[in-house]
Each structure stands twice: as C-alpha cells, then as structure tokens.
Amino acid sequence: MANADVIVIQGSNMAEAHPVGFQWVMEAKRRGAKVFHVDPRFTRTSAVADAYLPIRAGTDIALLGAVVNHILSNELDFREYVLAYTNAATIVSDDFVDAEDADGLFSGFDPATASYVQDSWQYAGHERDSGSGHTARERETAAGLRHESHGAPVSRQVQRDDTLQHPRCVYQILKRHFARYTPEMVERVCGIPREKFLELARAWTENSGRERTGCLIYSVGWTQHTVGVQYIRTGAIIQLLLGNVGRPGGGVMALRGHASIQGSTDIPTLFNLLPGYLPMPHHAQHPDFDAWVDSIRHPGQKGFWGGARAYAASLLKAYWGDAATPENDFGYGHLPRLTGDHGTYQQVLNMIDGKVKGYFLLGQNPAVGSAHGRAQRLGMANLDWLVVRDLFMIESATFWQRGPEVATGEIVPEQCATEVFFLPAASHVEKEGTFTQTQRLLQWREKAVDPPGDARSELWFFYHLGRRIREKLAGSTLPRDRALLDLTWDYPTHGRLAEPDAEAVLREINGYDTVSGRPLSTFTQARDDGTTAIGCWIYTGVYADGVNQAARRRPGHEQDWVAAEWGWAWPANRRMLYNRASADPQGRPWSERKRYVWWDADAGRWTGRDVPDFEVTKPPSYRPPEGATGPAALAGDDPFIMQSDGKGWLYAPSGVLDGPLPTHYEPAESPVRNPLYGQQANPTRKRYDHPVNSTNPSPPQQHDEVFPYVFTVSRLTEHHTAGGMSRTVAPLAELQPEMFVEVSPELATLAGLTHLGWAHLITARAAIEARVLVTDRLAPLTVDGRVIQQLWLPYHFGFEGLVTGDSANDLFGITLDPNVLIQESKIGTCDVRPGRRPTGAALRELVQDYRTRAGIVPGVLPPAVTPGVPVEPPGSTGDGEGNP
C-alpha cells in the first residue's frame, strides 16, 4: 500500500477503523501519493486526505461506473495488461441482454424466484454448460462466499477478438453498459459535483499504468449493502482496466473489522462452508461424494481447484480418521446437508417461530451487533436454552432482565422460558493460537497467563464439551451418533486446566501424511486416496516441517518490505495474490519502478520479492496441451491461477447472482427514485417476509415521505463493534461516553435539533434516542434538484457496560445481499425528532403510528421487481428452489 501513487478510500473510514494500518497510507502520502476519500460524512480519514468527496450513501456503483466509463470512453485502460490478463477480448453469447436495454434487469430473470438463470450470460458457445444454471439455490446457500478463494467455473476454450472491436466482446459490452454513467449522472445520483468527480477520475487514471499504480481501499461501508458484492466488482473492474491488480502499490484492499474474521471464513464457522471454502453439501445437488467433488472442481476446468477431490478427501480424513476410507467415501455420508438458507437471520426468525431450541453465542453480541436488534432479542427470548461465552456480561446475556423489550412489556422475565448459561471466556492473552489478519497472514499468539476463575478458552470448552457428549453417547447404536463417535477427538491437553494443545490442532489444520504422520508442506501434496489428512487445505504449509510457521517473528527491520519471515500467509506464504501479473506476458517486470515478481530466464524460474503466486518453473511461453486440466491447463501468461480461466474477470458470466456487470440500484430503503433504471432496488436481494420484519417504503411506493432522511452507521476509533470490548473498558469508555447522532446544521434547523440536546430517530422497526452533535462534517446533498439530508450514528452502544445508549442497529430491518447474505446495515431511511423517545408502551405506539402512516403491513414487503419493469421469461428453466 505504501508503494501506491494514488490511494482511493471508499466505503471505509480507515483512519478511524484501522488507525495503525493507516500509517501506510500516511507513508505513501509523505512520499507524495494523492489520497482520495469518498464518504457520506467528513471523517478523520477525510481530514488528512488530499481530497474529500461527499457522496449519497448507497450510490457508489454510479460513481465507480462513471470512472469505468471515463476510462473506456477516453481509452485510458492499460491495454497490454487488459488484453493479456483479463477477459476483455472474450466473446459473450448473443442471448445476453444487458440491463441497459431492459430497464435494469439482465436477461434470464425468473420472476417466480426473483433470481437469474445465467445461461444467457455465458461466453459464446457455452450457453448450456454454465455449470450454474438457476441461481435461486446459490442465493439460498450464499454460494458467493465460496468465490473468496476462486472464481466461478467457466470453460477455458473461448472465442476471443483481440482487437476488442467485436460488438459482443466483453470490452464493448462493458463500454455500452456504463455509457450512461457520465459525470452529469454522478451529479444526479451521488450528489457529487462533476468537477470533483473528474478530479478523482483524472488522478486515478493518471497514476496508473506501466510506471505507476493505484490502490483501492474498501471496508464494510461497501459490503453491508444489498448490492455489496457488485460494489467490490466495480472497484475490481477499474483496477483491472488500469492494470492495478497483482502489482505493488495496486490492488483492491479489503479492510476487515475483526482480529480473525478472515480466519473465520477460511476455517469457516459459516453454515454453507467447510474449511478451505469447500461447500457444505446440498441434499439435492450433492447426492454423493463424486457429485459433490465435481461440483467444486468442474472437470476440465483450469486452475488449482482441479485438486478439489484431494482437498475434500483429506478434510474428511482429518474429521473421521480411520473411519474415513475410500470405500465409504471418507464418511461423506456423515456430513449434514443444506436444503436452503440456514443463515443467521433465518435462524433468528426461526427462533421467533420456536423452531430453534438451543443457541450458542461465542464472543458475539447480536442483541447490539446484528441488524434488527428487537428481532434478535425476541428470538433469544423464545429459546429453550442459550449459552453465552464472553469476557463481559453483554446485552445478549441480559436481554431477559434489562433489554428494551422488558421496558416495553414485550419480554416479561417471569414468562421468559429461556435458560441462560453465562460462561466466562479467556482473553487473547490467556490462550494460544493463530489469528488470520486481513491480508491472509496467520500470526501465532503466545499465552501470557492463565485465565481467571472459571474463564476458559473456546478450545477448552468445545474439546471438553465434545468429550462429554461422546462419553454420554458411548455405546449408542443409533446411526446418527456414528459421526460423533467416529470423530477423531484425541487432542493432548496440558496444564492445571487441561487445556487442549493448540499446536496439535494447528498441525491437523496444516495436514499430515496419515502413514508417516509427517506434516505436509504444500497443498499440492494432498491426495484423494486417504493417505493425507488436511483440516484446511489452503492453510497447508503453516506447519511445514513440523515448525509453527505462524510463530515466526523475524523483526521487520531485518527484512525487506515484504517481510516474508513474519508469520505465515495463505496460500503458501504468498503476501500478494496473483503477483504473476506484476510482470508482462513475457515475464519481464512492467517497469523498474514496479518490479515485484519476474521470470529469470537463465535460472528458468520465477523469482522476485515475494513467493511467486504461480508454478515457479512454468515459463511465460508455456501453452497447455489440448485437454489438459487443473494447474497444467494454465498457460504461462494466465496470472489469475485460482480463476477457472486464469483471467481477471471484467465480466462475470457466472458466480455473481445479481448480474454479470455491476448496475446501480437504489438501496432497499431510499428517498430517491432510481435515476438510471425503472428497476428501483436490486431485484435479487434476499428478503424475509416475516411479520417481525418490515421495510420503509421507497419510491415509487406511496408514503416514502414518512421517512424523509437517510441515515448511515459506522465505527468510532474509540469503540469496537457492539462495544463489548470497549464500553466495558474505562480508558476507552471515557473517550466516547454517550450515544450520539451527527446532523448537519441545516438539518438541525430543519428538525429543530439543538447541539448536545436529545433527538430520537424512528424507522418501521424501532425508535432510538441519542444526543445531538451538530457539525459541518455532514452536508446536505443536492440530488436531482432535491436536498437530501443524511444523518450518521455510531453503532457501538447498548444497555450494559460503563457507558450506555440506544443501539443503532435496532433501526434496521433485514434485507440481504443475494451473493453472501450480508445484511444492508449501512443505510436506511428514518425520521428524526427533537427530544427523548417515549418509553414503555408509548414507544411501541409511536413506531406503530409511523408504520400506519407509511402504510406498512407486517410481513408484506415491497415487490422484488419494481412495478412497470418489463420481465421477459428466462431462456431456460433451472430448477428453482429459493423462496422469494
């Protein structure tokens, strides 16, 4: 990042959310890089940026699309890079109809399931073998997450036009798609004056190419939207066109908010994934091991997923050890099966409906941290039992006693049956283990002291819980108990507390040879014959040679800036993915200034500052033989080795459920009619028509004026997420001691709010109160001749801890991105009034009054497709299973 010549920060308040990471931005700035910040609010990041662009929340695609348009219409793309390393030249099926020509819907939309059949999106000549077909199910299972480590499947034999002139080549399609995303449109949609937009577009393009690179930084300001994935796609398209991927100082940098949130998707505690991004099997899609494996590797596909069978077999081997044999498909039968969406929000609704008996909360505080706090609390109040493991007594543990619903009479302790176990947890210094930080780097933590009192690590809790359960089941003959009884669960423990040995677990994650017991050093050693057991194949190598590579701590000042000997990064300790792209097709560095990884012809190998993210001896001139598959099928100039065609995707024929190209849709709740298309919001967004859930009306619906203002929430430097680790800590609590809402002076006057006075915000879900901070850091925007007022709130507050306040997440409803099922919790509409909110029953009446005025019927949501938008039936019919 410090090597960038221009840094664009959008959808992230990096200086506040990641101050220490921000030192690298400041370093680049010191060296003269220009820093742009795009945000609805002037933040501490804007304060030190070279330029700040205020934007209407939820319109980033319009802005970025206009940058794409600026690049294409002025031919500013890094042509040589684009031709060689992206799918710009690929010809797309002529069945494909762009959203531009269908008022916001792409071809293949199935109104029955509000999802796409992607056949018409495929490359020319491959309409039928898309391997994805109907996407309703993919949405239900958040399949998008799988693509964290690899692109979706496409065949590698494609028609190309290297002149980029063919009307149906990706380049031309892209050009047409974004043609209407002009500076004028940016002004109309985002409220950003055109000259300011042009300043950004120029700086970005001028600082990219052979000699220079630009870096794009985003965070949850992008992901927590109903089109979050497409935000990121748009950014990626720009970076690919400008040749800013796989090169030093380039890239699309995701800043994640939690110590090991990367790790918790790599080794997922997510319903739809198994370790290493292997999909959890689906009852219909994956009847047996082979079907399951083939659905991952797509026979005949290029790239490293060719080894999927070995990765899968090795995982099952790690789970069930000797009981996993080639004969019994390594115990594939033991795996539970998906039938649809089992995500956290679906779970909560099921709790309300009494379908869930028990709930574990492991260092998580949904009563404050999840959207629609009321639904979360009502759900928990309707369980048989709840286990909360945390450092502090958090809101999710005391909702039955002190929650807002107790005040409104919706939860009566004497009538709440939920049995609550609070188990104190061990802090990060009281246990050892690895965190995986945001750049895929694993770092080992040494244990400093024993946890106090009854506090224990999760490792301890689950190991011993598993031990007890297995003891209780010992001798059971029930088939359903086999999976538990066959499980390899024999980890050595040590110390007074009988703490399981974390290194032993890490060794299993790394994988070992089941015969010799030797740890593996790379995932290419994985076998599908049961001779290797690997807990998480992408982590193979972290315990290479029996050495804990994540514990390496060679001081940074003793290494070059790549610092390859600090911790261990997956895959194979690569610090930058796809770094083959930092050299030209012939393997030479694009420029001296941006030299990183290159082909050393004399030595006959790839070399450079980093571990080449490429087969190290495969020459640039290599061309795969006919019929080759897997890694062998990758040509010497296919840098994107995890992509099934080795190319960077400007156009996504599959894998992305809401369109092959990013398209501007308004947020699910918006005061503005979509100026670009008849289709108002993302037609494929995941909606829940549950009585507890409701959405504020947006144009063209009636009564949108009841909620005239836009609000957005985010973090403060001084606090952490739901506040469980900061509102409880005195030196942090005192720095931001109260819940507040930031408003522009104009809105303050408009709504009669006074500085440091009280205000309350109302949505269809809840009303919360906060102290008012009137500040110039928020400015009204002119959008289509209208003045749009935006408010901002921190979401850290709750009713427990040293400092308390209403929780901003209570304001949100539940609407999710179709690809990854992440909720839209960055933007909503609301009304704001001076003074404190009413309490008790009066509070519910207030919210009800607003619902009535807005004509909201519980459980009835706005239609997926905006009335009046023509829908032509999909070309083919997949077997849709999603419930719209």
Binding site: G363, D454, A455, G466, R480, I509, T728
Partner: protein
Amino acid sequence: MGLRDRLLGWPVYRQLTGTDPLGRGAAACSNRSAELTARTEGADRVARSVCPYCAVGCGQRVFVTDDQVTQIEGDPDSPISRGRLCPKGAASRSLVTSPLRQTTVRYRRPYGTEWEDLDLDTALDMIADRVLAARAETWEDVDAEGRPLNRTLGIASLGGATLDNEENYLIKKLFTAMGALQIENQARI
C-alpha cells in the same frame, strides 16, 4: 538512619555542598526518583501476542509479573504495526484486567428473575445434556424424497471473530459431526 545520614540526605545540605545550589535538579531528587525504573524491565516474562480488536493484526508484547499482566504495548518488531497501537489496542491491558470481567459461571433458570451461581463442571454437563436432547428432538434423517439430511436445525451458533483458527476448527468439526448446520459468525454481519 543516623542524624548524620539525615543531614547528608537533606536536600538543603546537598544544595549548599553540591552542584545544584538552587535546588532545581540533582539536589531535589528523591530516593524514589533515583531508583525509579520501567516496570517492564523487571517483568518475569514477555509473551508475543496479537491485538484482539480489528483485523490489521498489530503485534503486542504482554509483560507479566507474578502472573499478573502488568503492561501490554506494541511490538516494535512487527512489520505490520511497527510497535504502534490504536486506542483500543493500547487499552488491551485494561481489557484483560477489567474489574467488570466476569470470572464465574452465571446461570438463569427458566422464568428466573435473577442470576444464580453454577459450578463450571455442572454447567458443562447440563449443556451437554441439553445439546443431546435438542438434537434428538429435532433430528432430520432424510428429506421428503428420502435423500439424506443427517442434521438438526434445533441448534444454532453465532461466533465472534476474535476466536482463533484452532478454536473455529474444533467448533466447526464438532458441530458438523453433531449434524448442527446453523453455525454462523461475525463474517456474515
């Protein structure tokens, strides 16, 4: 301490006899100040750790004396953070030593209005029983068409993202073997 030592130790005497006639520095220095040193110097051990807050992964050094964490500060060796910390990371010692931290098991029985104490071992046993009961009650062997499901939708879990990879691995492994599908974490939020 004899009278003589008292006199020699008397700053006024030092003023008159020493290099600091105005009593501004050397003469005014107290014994405590003279012997003062950084408490981290005397630490029994130093653990190399990683900040538990955001995902930047800043290195931390945890200083321990008499099995108490006496200081947590940035690890200058880390190429990621170069010894620096944000306010949250800098507050790590207060986090782990906070008086608000719960260190005993608490139990709320159904329809209860107050917390009760519970022994950890008993708690673990009760939880194991409830897991098995919920699993038995909601187990699904096959779907309508007889295709295997092998699962329970009666148990759900939501994990934070401050858990170690090793912990996540065991959690996923156990729940999967248990047939519990509805395992989620912060990453979805």
